[in-house]
Every structure is written in structure tokens, then in C-alpha cells.
Symmetry: C2
Subunit: 100 residues, 2 copies
């Protein structure tokens, strides 16, 4: 399985536009082939980590090239994020506690 | 490079004990061979994602088996976290914007 780690800091402003697009991207990602799940946290300083999980690298590439997602990425670079990093990773091992 | 994604939800209570140990583990991790960096966010609901970065799998295993870290893991399971997940990943690609 693939994990895409998206670490970012929100810029000031464009809050309602950003929220609308974040919610749209969340729904759109869930509807893509090969989508497995997402974990997302942002703190009060505007620093966030979102990890999305995918069946394989093809699913990640399809999602990264989706036209609406490309438009969101453009606005992200231009307006919404002071900085961000994207890391695409292959999951080698997993352990868990207290979750089904 | 290896990323260790630690997703968790804090239980209620043991706040000062937890903070002390989290700060100690942060410092101890930084002093380990093969440590590269860390990104960590927890929101007001107590859900957190911490991603630590390491040179290779040996560095990860050494850190996961460090005696003080093993003790912290035990207390984590018993007291501090309602649930957690650990995923050890191999980073395949990275991109960034607005960071040096």
C-alpha cells in the first residue's frame, strides 16, 4: 500500500474558499479507484499533516493528475499554503493498538 | 529514506506525565544515529500525526528497540493513547514548495 504524506502550513486568508475546496477534494479522493483512506490533522498554528492511503502507485498518479485536483494544487501553491511538502511512500510494515 | 507515521488519539489524563515523556522522547530521538527529522501535529480533539524520518531501516529498528523508548511505548499502550497506528514506509518521491 502507498501512503502520501502531505505536510503544510496554511497562509492567512481565503478561509472559506479553502474549506470548500478541501471538502470537495476529500469527497473526490474517496471516489477515486484505489483509494483506501485518509488521516488528517491541522493544529491551531495552521500546520497540518494529511496522510492518504492508496492501493498502488497507479492510483496515486491518477489522483495527482485528476483535472479538479490539479486546479486545487495550483491554488494551493498560489494562495493557500505558506509551504508544503509531499512525500509518496511505500508502506513496509504496520502495527496498531486499540483500533479495529 | 524511511518515514515512520505515528497516528494516535490521546486518552484523557496523565497530561503532565505525557508531556514530559514526549519531550524526552523527542530529544532522545534527535540524538539517535540515522535520525533525519520530525513533523508533528496534534489537534484540539487529541488526534495527532507524527512523522519521523530516518536514514534507513536499521536506524528505525535501533530507535524502536531503545530501552527508554520501549518503556515509553509500554506507557503509551497502557495509559496515553486511546488508539494508535504505526506505519513504517520507504519514501519513493518527494516534492516541496516554499521550503528551503
Amino acid at each position: 500500500m502507498i501512503a502520501v504524506i502531505f505536510t503544510s502550513k496554511r497562509s492567512k486568508g481565503f478561509d472559506s474558499e479553502y474549506k470548500l475546496m478541501a471538502s470537495r477534494m476529500d469527497a473526490l479522493a474517496k471516489s477515486q479507484p484505489g483509494y483506501v483512506g485518509v488521516e488528517s490533522v491541522r493544529n491551531e498554528d495552521g500546520v497540518g499533516i494529511t496522510v492518504s492511503y492508496w492501493d498502488d502507485m497507479d492510483a496515486v498518479q491518477n489522483w495527482q493528475r485528476h483535472p479538479e485536483h490539479l486546479e486545487a494544487q495550483r491554488l494551493g501553491r498560489e494562495r493557500w499554503y505558506e509551504w508544503f511538502r509531499v512525500r509518496v511512500c511505500n508502506i513496509e510494515r504496520m502495527s496498531a493498538n486499540g483500533v479495529d
